[in-house]
């Protein structure tokens, strides 16, 4: 076989090789007298400047001898959202992190991972050449995880609180004393010589409604909002301040511009639109996995666990997998070409592919009827199933019936009489058809129920048209022929059928999975479809299928040692959040509009089947003040201006205008594209300076909690008493100045009723640690002195002893020394069934979705998975507005192997991969005369950018693939002036382009907007209409 083209991807850095060599040569020619120049002479003649190894192991005796001056501490990485357990090697005298690798106790870094009881000394031995244990017990950090430590010492770190000089975004700052910072934010005043600004004291109005005519919006305090990023193990602390102490309802994470579409689609199948549960393939045992819009071993969460299990499964095990994506990634590996396959697809058409697969499965009898036909959990258990679903439950489909789209209930049949509150609630059973066709309550039926039914059913109110949930799904799949689905998605019909055949040829040891690639203008239904594939083969909770994950040992709950979830005087936030995650029909606006005879459209979309959404905060919320305006915005390690497609065009002017938004406070270690627009920046701790109790999102079958604790002293400004400026000390000081409940001398109650202070970060996290240590069947053992000494936990001893009780601190030290609490490896499954099961039914038909109406059109949504093309808010297909004739290309985002949105300042990653050339299909490139390295211009209806081209066969025709994480305007790309000192000039940080600057607005909406999925409200970055042109070569 011949190779027609090879392209070096990812690693670049080859330019100028000869020049470097020549320079080195001519230079050294002058130094021929020998040896490295004295001034630069490395520490060692052979190993140069490599520091001494962290410990030695005697190959004969196995004795581990630590190196004086170094410790190896188990904490968490934050190079991406996986938050892997890592071991951090510290030069204690220099307060410097030398290197990072994996924590051998952590399932996120090691497989199999060490038994939890293993002494620390033995954990060290497990990583060495001794008996080749280090090859078996290898515990790793990824490329980014190895480099992230650079962020600790980055010259772009903010270490003192800053106050802006000049207008927002001027790039000029003055340091401000911590106490003064707290005073200004608490009390407000004429802070910038631009007029009065409300402080938090004035804004904390828990009584006065925002709008007396619309009391459902809640009190004035809701005009304060916090945008966070990922729960890095500290979000409960932040929520304690903003939700429970200050009292605003507006606290929101980054999901709406991360993987929200997948999570919402999964939430529809799992029956929870707010927490949006999601399962992951059990990669250790799966035989076939279909990845759609997610690229395991290229990126994703949990990155390393997926990558190591995938690599092993395809090499030593039985795993076959296919990745369906517009872009070829490192999920592929030609060395295992028979096990790994890539199927290119058009952006935003995954729903067509999976509906085609399901059609084939229905037509060929390839669904798991035993699983699907069990009407309740007990019946499923008796049938030997590991879970159940609502496939057999009847849905009212009578046109015009007041309960059209609702599940038929026992009370509809007259079998029970319930009062209004309980009717249609948990006690009102669903209805299924027994084998003889007789209707029966779903929870009263012992065996299989009818899978399919489409017809009338006699009820006390007469005949009612009903269908089973599975019938509704089957009807949806039949809307297009297989060839029709193939035409939509660009995957040939025989490939769709082949995928369906393979997916259904492994019993329950097959799985489908998706994630960030679902962020299209129809991502909700695409994702619902992918998850429904799993439902049809009944693989949830089953070995080799999809697993829900073991969950965590929660620190922030009430007990078993300390009450961290509740406190006297806590506020229960009320009202409607800015992003309107409730039915529009519950609003005063709707009632008024209905009274006026035109209930729809709402002024802007509402999202009853979504969680809170950052996507609406800065557009409809900030710019249009809908449903109410903001007076203070807190950004905690949050960067929506960089991360939300199209938001800069929509909202930057409003963010810069103090009249629109009087106060912006960023809590962040860096000046990012959003915090650059803040009035104040409060420096936060970075990585291994930080406390926290983190947990995996999914994919780990055993219970897992990862500890974060400061292994080095924070580089932020030191405060009296040894504290440092960071998120926690800032919020504590603010709370105490404002006299908020839940903080201060007696803020934390233990389970015996004694009261303890919350005045320092460790007051919270160590007591949370006590909860972690005491959860489970029995508390963890006490840490030994040797565990404490070897793990670096010794540096916490004063805090441990001062904060915790005599019986507690050694147990918490045991947890901290191991970098968390980890249920033992073998406990993930009992036989073929996952120990930690999702016990509720999966929903083939989601009643909440199927009865919700678009707040714009008033039309009902489909309650099952379906194929819907990408649309704007009013249902208009995007391609009807921005036609393929005008915009022949589609931009998609591709995850980076190395760079995440906030690690661009890590020099070593940039040296390895300095920019993100845009991938263009080879045929498209030939047509347009574009060659790799050419400069190109990409234009969308939302903006344009110039970029560098890389011509690839691994990109679907018509697609422009933009790797995420580049195109920064801040983080060092622009030097700021702080107190007269200018930051270094490193323009390389700004290399490449940011897809989100090309995001588009929704032209069917009246006010400010970014294009979002109409149900999930998630930002659209997959399939943005675009034009492409080659730029003339500069003279």
């Amino acid at each position: 076989m011949s190779i027609t083209r090879r392209i070096l991807l990812k690693t670049s850095a080859a330019g100028g090789a000869l020049a470097a060599f020549a320079a080195g040569f001519s230079d050294t020619a002058r130094h021929l007298v020998g040896g490295a120049r004295a001034a630069d002479r490395p520490d060692d003649a052979i190993s140069g400047n490599a520091p001494p190894p962290e410990f030695r192991v005697d190959p004969a005796t196995g004795t581990v001898t630590p190196t004086p001056g170094q410790t190896v501490a188990n904490v968490a990485c934050l190079g991406c959202t996986t938050l892997c357990g890592v071991r951090v090697r510290v030069d204690t005298a220099a307060n410097r992190v030398l290197r990072v690798a994996g924590n051998p106790y952590s399932p996120l870094s090691t497989d199999p991972f060490l038994p939890y009881a293993t002494p620390i000394r033995e954990s060290f031995a497990s990583l060495t050449r001794l008996g080749e244990r280090g090859l078996q017990g290898r515990s790793t950090a990824c490329g980014r995880g190895n480099a992230a430590l650079e962020m600790l010492t980055s010259p772009f770190r903010v270490t003192t609180p800053l106050k802006r000089v000049g207008p927002r975004g001027s790039g000029r700052w003055e340091p401000i004393a911590f106490d003064r910072l707290v005073e200004e934010i608490a009390e407000g005043g004429d802070l910038f010589g631009e007029g009065p600004v409300d402080g938090l004291r004035g804004l904390r109005d828990l009584k006065t409604p925002i709008d007396p005519a619309a009391p459902e919006l809640g009190p004035q305090v809701n005009r304060v909002a916090l945008l966070s990023s990922v729960n890095d193990g500290r979000e409960p602390f932040v929520r304690r301040f903003f939700n429970q102490a200050l009292g605003t309802i507006n606290v929101v994470g980054h999901g709406a511009y991360c993987g929200g579409a997948y999570r919402s689609g999964s939430g529809a199948a799992f029956g929870d639109a707010k927490k949006m549960p999601h399962a992951k393939p059990d990669l250790r045992n799966a035989e076939f996995v279909l990845f759609i819009g997610t690229a395991p071993s290229n990126a994703g969460n949990p990155f390393k666990r997926q990558a190591m299990l995938l690599a092993r499964g395809r090499t030593d095990g039985v795993l076959n997998y296919v990745v369906v994506d517009p872009v070829l990634t490192n999920a592929d590996n030609r060395a295992t070409a028979d096990r790994a396959n890539w199927v290119p697809i058009r952006p935003g058409t995954d729903g067509a592919l999976v509906m085609g697969m399901m059609r084939w499965m229905f037509e060929n009898g390839r669904i798991d009827t035993r699983y699907l036909s069990q009407p309740n959990g007990a019946a499923a258990e008796a049938a030997g199933e590991a879970g159940w679903c609502n496939a057999t439950h009847l849905v009212i489909v009578q046109k015009g019936h007041p309960r059209e789209g609702r599940m038929l209930r026992a009370s509809d049949m007259g079998w029970v009489t319930l009062d209004e509150k309980e009717r249609y609630g948990d006690r009102d059973a669903f209805v299924v058809l027994a084998a003889d066709g007789a209707p029966v309550a779903h929870d009263a039926h012992g065996g299989a129920a009818a899978l399919f039914h489409d017809g009338a059913l006699e009820t006390p109110d007469g005949a009612l048209a009903v269908k089973t949930a599975l019938t509704l799904l089957r009807d949806e799949t039949m809307r297009l022929e297989l060839s029709g689905y193939a035409d939509v998605c660009g995957v040939p019909a025989d490939v769709i059928a082949g995928l369906a055949r393979e997916f259904t040829a492994h019993g329950k040891k097959a799985a489908a999975n998706a994630h960030g690639g679902m962020m299209a203008g129809n991502g909700f239904y695409n994702a619902f479809g992918v998850v429904t594939l799993n439902t049809l083969i009944g693989n949830l909770n089953h070995k080799g299928g999809t697993i829900f994950g073991g969950g965590r040992f929660p620190d922030e709950q009430d007990g078993p040692r300390y009450k961290l979830a509740s406190f006297p005087g806590q506020v229960k936030p009320s009202g409607i959040a800015i992003s309107r995650p409730v039915p529009y029909e519950r609003s005063g606006e709707f009632r008024a509009a209905r009274a006026a005879g035109r209930p729809y459209p709402a002024k802007a979309p509402w999202y009853p089947n979504a969680p809170q959404l950052t996507t609406e905060y800065l557009t409809s919320g900030l710019v249009d003040g809908y449903p109410y305006g903001l007076k203070a915005l807190f950004l905690w390690n949050s960067n929506p201006v960089y991360g939300i497609p199209g938001v800069r065009a929509a909202a930057e002017a409003a963010l810069r205008d103090p009249a629109t938004l009087p106060l912006i406070v960023a809590i962040d270690p860096f000046i990012n594209e959003s915090s650059a627009l803040a009035d104040y920046i409060v420096p936060d701790t970075v990585l291994y300076e930080t406390w926290g109790w983190a947990a995996p999102w999914a994919g780990v079958p055993t219970k897992t909690t990862t500890a974060r604790w400061p292994v080095v002293e924070a580089r932020t400004e030191r405060l009296p008493g040894g504290r440092h400026v960071q998120m926690e000390t800032f919020l504590i000081a603010l709370a105490m100045r404002l006299g908020l409940p839940g903080f201060g001398p007696d803020a934390i109650e233990d389970t015996e009723g004694n009261r303890h202070p919350l005045e320092r970060p460790e007051d919270w996290y160590l007591r949370g640690g006590a909860n972690v240590a005491w959860l489970g069947k029995q508390p963890v053992p006490d840490a030994t002195d040797e565990d404490i000494a070897l793990s670096g936990v010794a540096r916490l001893l004063p805090a441990l002893k001062a904060t915790l009780k005599d019986g507690e601190w050694r147990k918490v030290a045991f947890v901290l020394a191991r970098g968390g609490r980890y249920q033992d490896d073998g406990e993930g499954f009992a036989g073929d069934v996952a120990t930690h099961r999702f016990k509720d039914p999966l929903l083939v038909y989601n009643e909440a979705v199927g009865t919700a109406r678009s707040s714009i059109t008033g039309r009902r949504w489909t309650g099952t998975a379906t194929w819907m093309e990408p649309v704007f808010a009013d249902g208009t297909p995007v391609r009807r507005v921005h036609t393929p004739e005008d915009w022949p290309f589609q931009v998609v985002s591709a995850k980076s192997v190395l760079v995440s949105a906030y690690t661009i300042a890590a020099d070593r990653l940039r040296h390895l991969h300095p920019e993100n050339p845009v991938g263009i299909n080879a045929d498209d490139a030939r047509r347009l005369g574009i060659a790799t390295g050419d400069r190109i211009r990409i234009a969308t209806p939302g903006g344009s950018a110039t970029a560098t081209a890389i011509v690839r066969h691994g990109v679907m025709p018509g697609v422009l693939a933009v790797e995420h994480g580049f195109g920064h305007r801040e983080y060092g790309a622009r030097p700021h002036v702080i107190g007269g000192t200018r930051q270094p000039d490193v323009p390389e940080i700004g290399a490449g382009i940011n897809l989100n600057d090309l995001g588009i607005a929704d032209p069917t909406r009246a006010g400010a907007s970014v294009w979002v999925d109409p149900i999930a409200g998630s930002a659209v970055r997959q399939g943005i209409p675009a034009r492409l042109e080659r730029l003339a070569v500069p003279a």
């Binding site: 083209r5 100028g16 190895n146 590996n333 990653l909």
Partner: protein, 250 residues
């Protein structure tokens, strides 16, 4: 000289080696070896099938060995390969091959480059004059002139860690478990077993260097002669202000 092209064709001519093919070093070369324990012969097997191209090895090496900016002792070259119109990803982890008959040794005018008795090829930076002959002599592009010390630099198999009973940094942190390190003199070691049973290949066997870095599953596509013009991506961003031009060593 188009060095980037050389990098690109690294895999050309890779051939399988069996245990029987593992030759002893030339007698004079063996006599010149010093340091290390002759009881060991350190080697690496790279199971390319398990490589995920994450560059953990690349960065771990930099952090462990304080490798200067924009230089690499090891790296994973990642290619898009196309055959019959079908595209795929190919990875090739690269490092010093610690050859049994290392061409970098005889060209060193000062004796700074030498081979330990356990097979690890190292450079004594107190002796090296930075003449660069060894950089040119290495067929694997595994060496470079360290722009801080102005002496020859390369992978040492993390000799300071190996001597301490530990594993090289790249092996410790290999996410896919592709890098396997051990003692060829120990028939029970994993590397010995893999070399015995998996018929691993080495890079450029025609050079007669007798490498001690072996590859399992080396993409046969990388063996063949490249047709057409291979396209090597180069960054357009100007080099870092404080660092010399970038170079993909190893």
């Amino acid at each position: 000289m188009d060095r980037s092209r050389r990098n690109f064709c690294l895999g050309a001519g890779a051939a399988a080696v069996g245990a029987a093919a593992l030759a002893a070093p030339p007698a004079d070369a063996a006599a010149a070896r010093k340091g290390g324990d002759p009881a060991n012969r350190w080697a690496m097997v790279v199971d390319v099938r398990k490589c995920v191209g994450c560059q953990a090895c690349t960065v771990a090496c930099i952090m462990e060995n304080a490798v200067p900016a924009n230089s690499f002792r090891t790296i994973v070259s990642t290619y898009e390969v196309t055959e019959g119109g079908r595209a795929g990803t190919a990875m090739l982890p690269r490092l010093c091959n610690h050859c049994e008959d290392a061409p970098c040794l005889p060209v060193c005018p000062t004796g700074a480059t030498f081979q330990r008795r356990d097979g690890i090829v190292v450079v004594d930076n107190t002796v090296c004059v930075g003449c660069g002959y060894c950089v040119q002599a290495c067929p694997y592009d595994a060496r470079f002139i360290n722009h801080e010390t102005r002496t020859a630099d390369k992978c040492t198999f993390c000799v300071h860690r190996v001597d301490a009973g530990l594993l090289p940094a790249c092996v410790e942190t290999c996410v896919g478990g592709a890098r396997i390190f051990g003692d060829l003199n120990d028939p029970g070691s994993t590397v010995s077993r893999l070399v015995r049973t998996q018929a691993p290949k080495v890079l450029k066997p025609g050079q007669g260097t007798d490498p001690r870095v072996f590859y399992i599953g080396l993409d046969p596509n990388l063996e063949g002669k490249v047709e057409g013009t291979p396209t090597l991506w180069r960054p357009s961003a100007r080099p870092h202000a404080h660092a010399p031009a970038a170079k993909e060593h190893a």
